[in-house]
Assembly symmetry: C2
Homo-oligomer: 577 residues x 2
């Protein structure tokens, strides 16, 4: 019987609970509903009333390809609003094996309580002292924990940033190789875990029975077609496996929408040095791996292993947004240094997008020179020292660093850093940045599809049209629904272009649960999620005034297409579900 496991971090107690009112929800649908119902919207995000809800998706632990994402929900220390941040890694599969739909971390102990590691097995929960891990990076901690508890366990861990309540801290998850290189990066959830004095969570699924299928044969038929759909689409079947998400570097540069030098222009002179093509060239020459899955059952394989010149592993899964932020937006062109910075962020436990843009703020404020990747690395290293003021500033992310360094062009929405697609020249995604309850987040409604990639339609990215509002709205709804299933968001490329895809997903859900779930039921799932999230944010004090881009996007002209941001706040409300 699928359960929810609640862990009280103050009492160090736990209890299992029936699904009750949460039955039928998964992933983001569950995290957002639980946060709305159980976390007071006006509470202190690092106080005892906040919770971390870890939820698997509706298809977790099944044969369905790419169904192993885990959703983390909480009130965000960074935005002050609701947050769902999802990640790959091994955790969702292990939870499903133990038949846990959700694990919830509740309450908090006194601030000076020693750190602990929580271990979950089929027999329950134990608490182990983790004082010796204090201040340690996620790589050595994960290595030690896997050594102690066995290579087959999965680890969720925070770095020094989460321990010290940094606003841009992440929660990292071990991937199939045991590297803590997968992140629930955005919104500072590491600080929520740190406030609860939990350094790590280890899950051992030995002896777990998993959950059953209502109709396994029907599931097999649907999941076979599902794999075909993913393999047949050019993005999920060819582009992503060949270059990872960094295939986008050249594409966005060509489109004139690759933000460069803190969003001052859309093309980067040295783009070839940081492209996906360059990355692959290095990986092939140095014994890295071009194709890897971030979780078992992935058929897209957009992750990689990136080695240095001596063939030594640096990092995995370097995303386009990371390479962009540490690359063109910082005027850095040394891809090896970018890989080192990605590794540092994973080890320190911080969001690459918010941290890289904090480094950009340091460059724009004259603290370090533009394009100086060595100085940037030195800056990141300061986050290991909890008393280093510069480390404290950088670790709190872009909005904070911008205010520290006296910057008047700070690229954030709801205090979360704007990602790698300039909203003036990819207007559909700009609408998403402004209106998603998450704070600036490309994954919340990836209109880059219709604007640039011409997947799922073709909408002019430069025009302030109603159409761009419409595609953002529809994508936000669809994305929320995908996030409820535990499917990787990248399936959307194939889904948008394949007629029977929603039907196939609905068939898998029906066959798993023995219900009659239809393709037409998918969108309402997304709408309900978004409305839960709007309700939380409204109670937390958000209004439409928070649904806007920073002023400089409206005041400055963005080359090469010489675009501006022109939507009014009221226009943008039409993008809300």
């Amino acid at each position: 019987m699928t359960k929810i496991l609640r862990i009280n971090t103050r009492e160090r107690s736990f209890r299992y609970e029936e699904l009750g009112e949460y039955a039928g929800l998964g992933g983001r649908a569950l995290t957002s509903r639980m946060v709305l119902n159980e976390v007071p919207a006006t509470c202190n995000p690092i106080g005892p009333d906040n919770k971390i809800v870890m939820a698997t998706g509706l298809l977790a632990g099944t044969l369905a390809a790419n169904s192993g994402r885990i959703s983390l929900g909480a009130k965000s220390p960074l935005t002050g609003g609701i947050k769902e941040s999802n990640s790959g890694g091994m955790m969702a599969l292990k939870m499903a094996k133990l038949d846990l739909l959700a694990v919830v971390l509740e309450d908090k102990p006194a601030k000076d309580t020693p750190l602990c590691t929580i271990k979950i097995t089929k027999d329950g929960v134990t608490f182990e002292d983790a004082s010796s891990f204090e201040g340690m990076g996620t790589y050595p901690v994960a290595e030690q924990l896997l050594e102690t508890h066995g290579k087959k366990t999965a680890v969720m861990v925070i770095g020094p940033a989460g321990e010290t309540l940094r606003l841009a801290s992440s929660i990292q998850f071990t991937d199939p190789k045991g590297h803590p290189a997968r992140a629930a990066g955005r919104g500072g959830l590491g600080a929520v875990m740190g406030s609860k004095r939990v350094k790590a969570l280890v899950i051992d699924d030995a002896g777990g029975a998993g959950s059953e299928y209502a109709d396994k044969d029907a599931f097999k038929v649907a999941s076979k077609r599902w794999v075909e759909i993913l393999r047949n689409h050019p993005v999920t079947g060819q582009g992503l496996p060949a270059f990872g998400t960094c295939i986008l570097i050249n594409i966005l540069n060509e489109a004139g929408a690759l933000p460069t030098k803190n969003f001052r222009q859309g093309r980067f002179d040295e783009v070839a040095e940081i492209s996906g093509e360059k990355m692959v060239e290095h990986m092939e020459a140095r014994g890295g791996r071009v194709k890897e899955g971030c979780h078992p059952g992935c058929v897209i394989q957009c992750s990689q292993s990136y080695n240095d010149k001596d063939g030594k592993y640096i990092t995995s899964g370097m995303e386009y947004e990371t390479v962009w932020a540490f690359g063109s937006n910082s005027l850095v062109h040394d891809i090896d240094d970018i890989a080192r910075m990605d590794r540092l962020c994973d080890d320190i436990g911080v969001d690459t997008i918010d941290i890289a843009n904090a480094v950009v703020m340091a460059m724009d404020g004259g603290m370090i020179p533009w394009g100086d990747s060595k100085a940037a690395i030195e800056l990141l290293n300061r986050m290991y020292d909890k008393k280093d003021p510069l480390g404290q500033i950088i670790g709190n992310g872009t909005a904070f660093a911008g205010e520290a360094f006296g910057i008047d062009r700070i690229p954030v929405v709801k205090r979360q850093a704007i990602p790698a697609y300039d909203p003036r020249s990819v207007k559909g995604v700009g609408v998403t940045y402004a209106t998603t309850p998450m704070g600036a987040d490309h994954t919340a409604g990836y209109a880059v599809c219709q604007n640039i990639l011409k997947v799922g339609g073709d909408v002019d990215p430069l025009k302030s049209s109603d159409e761009n509002i419409e595609i953002s709205k529809n994508l936000q709804i669809a994305t929320a629904a995908v996030d409820a299933t535990g499917l990787c968001l990248f399936v959307a490329f194939a889904v948008l272009d394949t007629e029977d895809s929603l039907d196939v997903i609905a068939k898998m859900i029906s066959a798993k649960y023995g219900i009659d779930f239809k393709a037409s039921d998918v969108a309402p799932v997304g709408v309900n999620i978004l409305r839960d999230e709007y309700a939380f944010n409204e109670a937390a004090g958000f209004t439409k005034a928070d649904d806007q881009l920073p002023e400089f996007f409206s005041k400055e002209i963005f080359p090469p297409h010489n675009t501006r941001w022109e939507y009014s706040i009221d226009d943008l409300q039409k993008a809300k579900a």
Copy 2:
């Protein structure tokens, strides 16, 4: 003919304007109406659309005692809401002499434009290069400007903090002795001035005719009675002249409401060392001055000159809130060091309340030891160096420093630091902190009167009663009205206890303008101001969720009276006008 002077800081141009729609408004009534009408609520506070409105009160330049306060209005960089911060000093009188109701600083030049000094005379406005002042404190700059432009001019000036856009930066004004010791301290208005690249503003009223009285004889009669009222009340006639506002140190300690060690307890063991009585003892022994006015025409004389052991001037006008924040709340008991910190804040151009509590955050976060005033002074000195990360953190105020140092008990409302009266044991002022549109501000509705001083009534400070909500509401209305007249807020002590006082104020306004202004017209002035301010804040994205105290006041018991904060957000809305 009374005029408004508008100065464009980008074009370096100016124009005079009739009062038009602003006729009949003064002080805070004018600043808040103009900010509401002319500053887009969602604009970037350090962008070109923000304005600084400097307005004299309705009684400025008259014979009325204590009528020389100046109101500064803008969108606050600290709170994101509307701000009126008012100050003593020479400016209002000089403006009145030139018959200027308001001076408005508009637009902004490029970020790297050299700083300028604006000079206003009867002939208009000139702009002078101020690059040589870059990074300099307000004391040496004011000294040089008074040297250059004459001792009879008045100076408004920002320090290094305002130049570098610090969120807790102030705008300082010269007092009758030429010290820039009077501050429009709260809300970071120095950053607005700094964003406009204006280092200082000098006003020379030579040849100014002043404005006329409609009925000078009637004015004289009323203003004579006005002086009597102020002189006859024990607070304005005896207490404040004898000890300044620091008379409150012992009173609040006795009441068990003097926040100590970051609001952990209500009494300070070493209170005698930092009391008003101790201050006076030192001033008398060292050739300081116990009684001074912050502006000409003051009969209360609550300011002072405080000298060091060698008889050398350190600072003026050390307020209770400053001594509290650098004293008991930091566990510091060296009153000379507190005076040095007050001076440093004035020179750097920062708000003492927000900065001292930022130092408290540094102590609570283990950055410097509790009670270590030498380390605190060293910390403050870092603000002179614009690239010092610790200086950047401290200069951004309490909320920012708390987030930098990983503190989960940050005493702010709307990101502005809570002043010197614990809201759990002075509940009336707690209601004011939560609900004033200004962010935590005792001056916005000083219920310490009825709660502790028993002026204007006697309301139990410990009880979560409706009465405490009621007194806060009425005081917020009355205060806003007082802030429209240009009268010093401290007149309120006498006004609350003297039957004919409102009538006398109304008579002075009537006699000055030849209108029939009545005592019953006073409250509506206050209500209108507050409603303008609520309207701005609502458009800026504030909701009732912002009208609350930090969570720890509800969760922690406050000794010695063992009180908690118990009002709900909805309760508190009843305090809004």
